[in-house]
């Protein structure tokens, strides 16, 4: 006789797609009202603040030949799809006349990008909750797989440390942050500028606040000559960011396995 599987809380695909369109909508569908409201306010607030600071000009960075229909699809902002669609509809690529960048252009773009990436993590959380039986996970985890992935974005290796995988976390931190540091050294900081490297910046952004902190500390240098290894720096920095996605998937997968793992039955008492 086949054992009856516990009923899911909701449809994971629906929960994920709803979150992708509107932060918190997936959790609202799963009746997680408090998380839904907090996520909506936080993530949409970040996006709106970012748009206000950058005056909605992030796509105006792109040169004319790169202004295709799907130009915005490869940006971190695409993680918050509803907001990005409204953004593009409202501001697009700007008018015919170029405008000067506002004073807080870089901060504004960092906020909209952060909103997009955090919303993807929220969508993964909604997907996990939808697959979880109403009675809760087999083995409740702190942090949850999505939170561990978010910690890895905050600092590579931090999610592993939070899961108790200390050695792996420290090795991951040294490798990925080391590669990013080498890249920044080679490019003399020219790799850190979204205005200079629109799509490569998106790759480096996957390294999280560590990359943003270096970017803002370095102060977007004005170059009088191009560094010899600028291309190597840009590529390696982007690779470091993408490798961090593998680390995020690693902690998510590890946490997910534990989340759904059934506890081993207790051994039968011996007579």
């Amino acid at each position: 006789m086949t054992p009856t599987l516990p009923q899911r809380t909701g449809d994971p695909t629906v929960a994920t797609l709803l979150t992708w369109l509107v932060p918190g909508a997936g959790h609202l569908y799963l009746k997680q009202t408090r998380i839904a409201l907090a996520a909506f306010v936080l993530l949409e607030g970040l996006y709106v603040l970012g748009v206000l600071l950058s005056q909605g000009m992030f796509l105006e960075i792109l040169p004319a030949e790169m202004r295709g229909r799907f130009a915005a699809a490869l940006t971190p902002e695409a993680g918050n799809l509803g907001a990005l669609l409204l953004h593009v509809r409202q501001y697009g690529f700007g008018g015919l006349e170029p405008r000067p960048w506002p004073a807080h252009m870089d901060l504004g773009m960092a906020l909209t990008a952060t909103s997009g990436l955090l919303n993807l993590l929220l969508a993964s959380h909604a997907h996990l909750l939808a697959r979880t039986p109403a009675a809760g996970p087999s083995t409740p985890q702190r942090p949850s797989p999505a939170a561990a992935a978010a910690l890895t974005w905050v600092l590579p290796g931090l999610g592993h440390l939070a899961q108790g995988r200390r050695a792996r976390g420290l090795v991951a931190l040294a490798l990925v942050v080391g590669l990013f540091a080498l890249a920044t050294f080679l490019a003399e900081g020219s790799n850190l500028d979204r205005e200079r490297h629109f799509y490569y910046w998106a790759g480096q952004f996957l390294l999280g606040p560590a990359a943003l902190a270096v970017e803002f500390a370095h102060g977007h240098p004005t170059l009088t000559s191009l560094p010899d290894y600028k291309d190597a720096g840009v590529v390696l920095g982007s690779i470091a960011g993408m490798l961090n996605v593998l680390l995020m998937l690693d902690v998510y997968g590890y946490g997910e396995t534990k989340w759904f793992q059934r506890p081993e039955p207790a051994p039968a008492p011996t007579a």
Binding site: R168, V171, L175, V176, L179, Y229, L247, D250
Partner: protein
Amino acid sequence: MHDLGFHALLFLVSTTVIVAVSCMFSEPEDAAALRLFPRRLARFLIGSAIVLGVMLALEHTLAAVS
């Protein structure tokens, strides 16, 4: 700029990081990931050497402009 040795060193460093992280992703257990690393790194380097050989051969034959 045209320092071949430095380029090779950069390639080796980036390859080591890429292969190490991919081993972590493939194997949730640390010991298994560590065992996988040398074999996977060797395969990556040999594969890259073959691609390099093919590219150089093409550059000096079909793509030669001089």
